[in-house]
Amino acid sequence: MKKFILLFVSLSLFVVSCSDDDSSSTTAGDDAFDRKEMLTHWADHIIVPAYTNFVASSTTLDASTQTFIETPNEANLVQLREDYQKAYLDFQTISIFEIGPAETIGFRGFVNTYPTNATAITQLIENYETPNLELPSSRAAQGFPALDYFLYGVADNDNSIIETYSTGNFANGYKTYLGLVSKRIKDLSTLILNDWNNEYRDNFVANTSSSSTGSVDMLANDFIIHFEKFIRSGKVGIPAGVFSGNVEPQTIESYYQPSFSKSLLEKSLNSSKNFFKGLSFDQSTTGLSFESYLDYLNSIKEGEDLSTLILNQYEDSASKIGLLNDNLLQEVENNNSKMLTAYDSMQANVILLKIDMLQALSISVDYVDTDGD
């Protein structure tokens, strides 16, 4: 009884000095997992380098867009397409990080909403209107899916496509619109990168709070939403008809150049896996990550080796996707069962990430911070 009271007294001394201020941070001790180090690694070796790289490729993309607008010929179209593909692939490496400035402006929605609304785009052009790409309602008429349409979909073959920009009736309108779209991708990503370089990086790293507004918690949610909604559903599930009962080939990413669709899927799955492992953007080092965080917590809990299960499932999904044809549009129309197999494999990982990983990290999926029991 005496000890019992003594313990309560000593606990109370701790408590008296406690506040429930959510924003406070601590430097972790030797035995605890260092979340600040993990956030630093994420920011400095993964997120900022990925954005820097993307800003570079979207700048290149914008330059070759200008060249093509000035001189719409085959050589310039080939160059533009090449730069477009590079930038679209690079986008898959930053799409996970819809946090901070990217979240504020709704970056992903403006840059990669598909299927693109080709009818709206052509209507604007044929009515000699200048599009206002800042409107939230214009999200489906810009970004990479719009570029996909401009570079591959405005006409049946390459010659006619070039004609659309050179001698076509609405050539000026097409050129203006195309230029605006590529410029906006560059501008938005530059804005985000500047914010990371100026002050957001420090806020992000310092925000080690365990609450739902802490960086680890927020990015864990972003990471899982990205995997579930944007890779599993967006790139595979929706076109394969998982949610509607009918295949929906028109919803494939890179619809006008469908042979590019599998590359985007692979890149994005790989980026997700690398982030889970904490592989730096230049692939030179591995730092603290969800993988090592789970391993640390597992050493307390002595449960199953969850991080290995998750990584194995990533490998399984990669191999199922590897079996697909480069052209996912064709797969949806002819071999949809292979698409569904890939979906099921990713679905198994959604369960591991969303239930087991979040439970282990003690992070809640919802953002409504109501009272608990």
Binding site: F4, S24, Q359, G372
Partner: protein, 454 residues
């Protein structure tokens, strides 16, 4: 025996403890409602969602759209009236009804704390809490008393004791005591609490908290009742509840329990409290010192006895109803609610609903976010009665949309107390064929582990 009981019901005591309890209760309830409102939770939890989960038998209790605010306003006004003791009988009745209505609107938000408030306010309907130090007593000296029957105080003490002891009994299981679960998951995630953060990473701390929590719950009512340990016990109440407040998002509840525990003190303390209140608000405390004793008529006395005996019999037996179900309680949650099982589980799930046309076998999956808020989806995903109710909702929704021969299946996974997730509901069962009832739910898949204990 009967004479003893009759004798007991004639015993009197000072009315001050009950008056103080009434004031604190009204104050805490008003603050809680204001806080709930200010946090925007009325809108988030009761106005915005398109679908609400009902308690079995209470399907008719629904939020009233924008008028839901009105129910909260009624509860707030009645809570203030309880605090000042204005038309107490009506205000406590209205508070009980409005508060309980709010709790019945959507079982997503079920918390043992809210249930506690509901039944406590029900009990208080039958207590003469405005006999002393209230506006009622001030305005009508004929209805003012300085002494009330002793059982009035005892009934509140008994209810609080039931809550604590049952919460303690529920902790007597292998997960809590032998695995230190779920504290082993929850405490390390509180790494950013100053000073305690690193401490909370230690395994022995998880076990220490588990065992101390269990011992606290089981012993605190007795330590509070027993005069020599009372002060220490009250100190423990404060430490315990403040600690839970620091560690977990449990809102106002710790403070409600701390002030409620004052009911265990001697009347001396309460008179002191009333004196202080009188001083601060310049109320004549003297006016309430009339030395009158409240005596119920024998007819009223037998009615009250009947209500109280029935009420406490239900309270004592309801938490054991889970014994009537064959499977693991934590897994199936049959008989889990209304039983003071507080903070016992870390449970999370994932439920994907599949709509199938029985004739063409065409199928598609439901995007839960089309119908549920993230919070509702989270709660639904690991509670079978939620899953069933939602499945029926989906069935009628898609039938209305023109789908034919609708069957609803669910593929779901649940993880409990750090175990790996496993399939939860039988994916081959068309949930539309199953009606909600109290009989055991056979569509729940078996739990591949054992949790021993109560």
């Amino acid at each position: 025996m009967l004479i003893k009981i009759k004798h007991y019901f004639k015993k009197n005591t000072d009315a001050a403890p009950l008056a103080v309890f009434r004031i604190f209760f009204g104050l805490m309830m008003s603050l809680s409602i204001v806080r709930f409102w200010a946090n925007g939770w009325i809108d988030k939890l009761y106005v915005q969602p398109k679908f609400f989960f009902s308690y079995y038998g209470f399907e008719w209790v629904k939020p009233l759209g924008i008028y839901t605010y009105f129910i909260f306003l009624i509860a707030l006004i009645s809570a203030i009236a309880i605090m000042i003791g204005y038309r107490y009988k009506w205000s406590i009745l209205i508070f009980f009804l409005s508060f309980t209505y709010i709790e019945l609107m959507d079982k997503t938000t079920y918390l043992n704390h809210y249930y506690f408030i509901s039944i406590l306010s029900f009990l208080m309907i039958f207590l003469p809490a405005s006999a002393h130090y209230s506006i009622d007593a001030y305005l009508n000296p004929r209805k003012a008393y300085q002494k009330i029957p002793k059982w009035c105080i005892h009934s509140i003490q008994l209810l609080m004791s039931i809550v604590y002891v049952y919460a303690g009994l529920a902790k007597l299981n292998s997960d809590w005591l032998l695995e230190a679960m779920p504290l082993k998951i929850w405490l390390p995630s509180k790494y950013d609490i100053p000073l305690l953060g690193d401490f909370l990473q230690q395994t022995w701390v998880h076990y220490g908290f588990s065992w101390l929590g269990m011992m606290y719950d089981l012993s605190i009512p007795f330590l509070l009742l027993y005069r020599p340990t009372r002060k220490v016990a009250f100190f423990m109440v404060i430490v315990f509840h403040v600690l839970t407040r620091v560690l977990f998002p449990i809102g106002m509840f710790p403070f409600i329990m701390i002030v409620s525990a004052t009911i265990f003190f001697d009347a001396k303390v309460h008179r002191q409290i009333l004196k202080i209140i009188s001083k601060v608000f310049k109320i004549s405390y003297h006016r309430f010192q009339n030395h009158k004793t409240l005596v119920f008529s024998s007819k009223k006395n037998s009615l009250l006895t009947f209500v109280l005996v029935l009420f406490f019999t239900i309270q004592l037996f309801l938490p054991w109803r889970y014994l009537a179900y064959p499977n693991e309680l934590f897994w199936t949650e049959e008989g889990f609610r209304f039983s003071w099982r507080v903070m016992l589980m870390e449970k999370a799930g994932y439920a994907q609903f599949k709509i199938v046309d029985a004739q063409t076998q065409k199928r598609f999956y439901v995007d839960n976010s089309d119908f549920l808020t993230p919070y509702q989806e989270k709660q639904m995903s690991f509670q079978p009665d939620f899953i069933l109710e939602y499945a029926h909702f989906l069935g009628s929704h898609f039938e209305k949309q023109g789908h034919k021969n609708v069957e609803v299946y669910v593929e779901s996974y649940v993880a409990l107390n750090g175990r790996r997730s496993q399939p939860y509901i039988d994916p081959t069962v068309d949930l539309l064929q199953i009606k909600e009832s109290f009989i055991p739910k056979t569509f729940i898949l078996p739990f591949y582990d054992q949790i021993k204990g109560l």
